[in-house]
């Protein structure tokens, strides 16, 4: 009885979570613009979507910005984590606390504060809001995730590994490349992936730091929702949903396989 109640409860929550998505998927194939009545099946909205130059160019922008920002954030953050992990307790605490500010602060404040900074410099150094300000803003909110992913890996690492590499003839830089980096790679990778995800998804910070010239996909979506009903959004949602499902399923398969491999390894021991 208790079990059945539990299952009903979970089903209700899942319904709540998935009904909106389901509705969008269904109506993305609707022949009319109606969001209540299905009048027929069509792929028109998808074709319109792919022919929509604004959406396609902002999608390109989003991907380019996400990749550039994530790569730079990962490099910056990984080195930062290495440096931070070697600091004494008090400076380390101060720096990690400041680092978490963009993670805890409301996005709108991160966005507004960066906008104030950019306005200040734009007036004095004669540049425009756009690609560069977006990349800087994205790096700023990405780096903390890289650092927070890499730091625990560094702390878990046997501190002697670095020394062992020096002992065997590596210069400090070489020791980092040959020994430390492979050890912290899982953290670096998950930091990078998180950065990509947050960059692709970000609307609020981008909204305040983008110029008229380079818009990201979320900003375009926002302006579309402000205007009239547009079933292209449904089509876009459907595609994004399918991509997300594929990515997550693949990721899940990989992690469970890895888990199986390691547990088998332990059994062999």
């Amino acid at each position: 009885m208790k079990k059945i109640l539990g299952k009903i409860y979970i089903a209700l929550v899942l319904m709540f979570l998935y009904i909106p998505i389901f509705v969008m998927i269904v109506f993305s194939f609707n022949t009319t613009k109606s969001r209540t009545v299905m009048s027929g099946f069509t792929f028109d909205w998808y074709i319109k979507l792919f022919n929509n130059e604004l959406i396609m160019s902002s999608l390109r922008n989003t991907i380019i910005i996400a990749v550039i920002a994530s790569v730079l954030a990962t490099v910056l953050g990984t080195f930062a984590a290495v440096g931070i992990s070697r600091m004494k307790k008090i400076p380390r605490m101060i720096i990690t606390n400041i680092t978490t500010i963009p993670m805890i602060n409301p996005d709108i404040i991160t966005g507004v504060s960066l906008m104030l900074l950019f306005v200040f410099f734009a007036a004095r150094m004669n540049f425009e809001f756009g690609f560069v300000t977006l990349v800087i803003a994205h790096i700023t909110f990405d780096v903390p995730y890289v650092i927070m992913n890499v730091l625990p890996k560094l702390n878990q690492m046997d501190p002697n590994l670095h020394e062992a590499a020096l002992d065997l003839g590596c210069s400090p830089m070489m020791a980092f490349r040959k020994v430390v980096l492979p050890e912290i790679m899982p953290g670096v990778l998950s930091g990078f992936l998180m950065s990509v995800t947050f960059s692709l998804d970000d609307f609020v910070v981008s909204y305040f730091t983008s110029g008229a010239t380079s818009q990201t996909l979320p900003i375009t979506i926002y302006s579309m929702t402000r205007r009239k009903v547009s079933p292209e959004i449904n089509a876009l949602s459907t595609i994004i949903f399918i991509v997300v499902v594929i990515v997550l399923v693949v990721k899940n398969i990989i992690t469970t396989r890895n888990l199986k491999l390691t547990s088998e390894g332990e059994r062999n021991d």
Partner: protein, 349 residues
């Protein structure tokens, strides 16, 4: 024999605390030298100074006649076997051992040959492709040794390398390490807190405490002629009592006078007298100057260990004959079994 490493007046301070206080130490070429002491005595710090992982606040490190105090570890002809081995988890056995050679950019052929030699030396042939995470503690230990030795260092530093192994494996590895040291003909500097390990393996033992060297000597010297009560107590079990020298070759302990073999102290100088438990002979109470009541008797395999209450102090005695608790016995010792030493500044026991 020449000195391969000399430490001159080395001082290391950390947060205003002196970890090493003006240490002087000469390490001879091709010897097996052990730094022995309780945790916090500075033995690992000394090792890290030789390895180059730590720069002393003052003093000099001399290697083969040249000062290397500020030379970084990767430019020293010294290798280290770390406490928890510090094997590279992302590399297999072969690649771990080959690491140093690859850093030197040796030809692959040479690397294969030398790694092969090492695998043979440490008895790990056939393990090349294994992941180091799947090796047992003893095997990991062997990889760590091979990884260090393959670089042909003049000096191998070992930081409590047997600490993580169980007793039986430990004994095996002790013999193994000694064999490797002999066959490679290089200097081993070994750090341990286990006195038995130190005595069995070393040519020279350096006993350390509180950042100072207490005594340097062969295992036999250290055991038989400890310079103070700390060394005596740390090396093997001891009964340590306060006494006073009456004159050369006569000492007074617990109000009784005993003949001894030491001299050179001032008249009536207060001293510590060390008597090893195995040197005390049990006799009838009437035949001995010192008597006591047996408090407990424990069978230890080769002998019985008894705790005897004598003159308000507890004595430990090892004897092949058991005496029932509660009985009175006499305790006798030969003159050469009384080890007289200067009083330490702080009183122990």
């Amino acid at each position: 024999m020449n000195n391969i490493v000399s430490l001159r007046d080395i001082t290391v301070e950390f947060d205003d605390e002196k970890i090493l206080d003006s240490i002087d130490l000469d390490i001879k070429d091709k010897e097996f030298i052990t730094l022995l002491g309780p945790s916090g005595c500075g033995k690992t710090t000394t090792l890290r100074i030789i390895g180059g992982f730590l720069t002393p606040n003052s003093g000099k490190v001399i290697f083969d006649g040249k000062e290397i105090t500020n030379v970084p570890p990767y430019k020293r002809n010294v290798n280290t076997v770390f406490q928890r081995y510090a094997l590279f988890p992302h590399l297999n056995v072969f690649d771990n051992i080959a690491f140093g050679l690859r850093v030197q950019k040796l030809p692959e052929k040479e690397i294969i040959r030398r790694v092969g030699e090492m695998l043979e030396l440490v008895n790990l042939m056939g393990y090349e492709k294994r992941s180091v995470n799947k090796l047992s503690g003893g095997q990991q230990q062997r990889v760590a040794i091979a990884r260090a030795l393959v670089n042909r260092p003049r000096l191998l530093l070992l930081d409590e390398p047997l600490g993580a192994l169980d007793l039986k494996l430990r004994k095996e590895m002790q013999i193994e390490l000694k064999r490797i040291q002999k066959s490679m003909e290089i200097t081993f500097v070994f750090v341990t807190h286990d006195q038995e390990e130190a005595l069995t393996m070393s040519d020279t033992v350096v006993v350390m405490k509180g950042g100072h060297i207490q005594q340097i000597g062969s295992p036999i010297d250290i055991y038989n002629e400890p310079v103070n009560s700390f060394v005596a107590d740390f090396i093997g079990e001891s009964n340590i009592v306060s006494g006073a020298m009456i004159r050369d070759r006569e000492v007074e302990i617990l109000g009784r006078r005993f003949e001894c073999v030491d001299g050179g102290f001032g008249a009536n100088e207060h001293v510590d007298v060390v008597i090893r438990p195995e040197d005390i002979k049990v006799s009838a109470p009437s035949e001995a100057k010192l008597t006591g009541i047996v408090e407990s008797t424990i069978f230890k395999g080769v002998h019985y260990e008894m705790i005897v209450d004598a003159c308000d102090g507890k004595w430990k005695i090892q004897s092949t004959k058991a005496v029932e608790p509660g009985q009175e016995i006499g305790m006798r010792f030969d003159p050469e079994d009384l080890h007289i030493m200067k009083k330490m500044e702080e009183h122990r026991r």
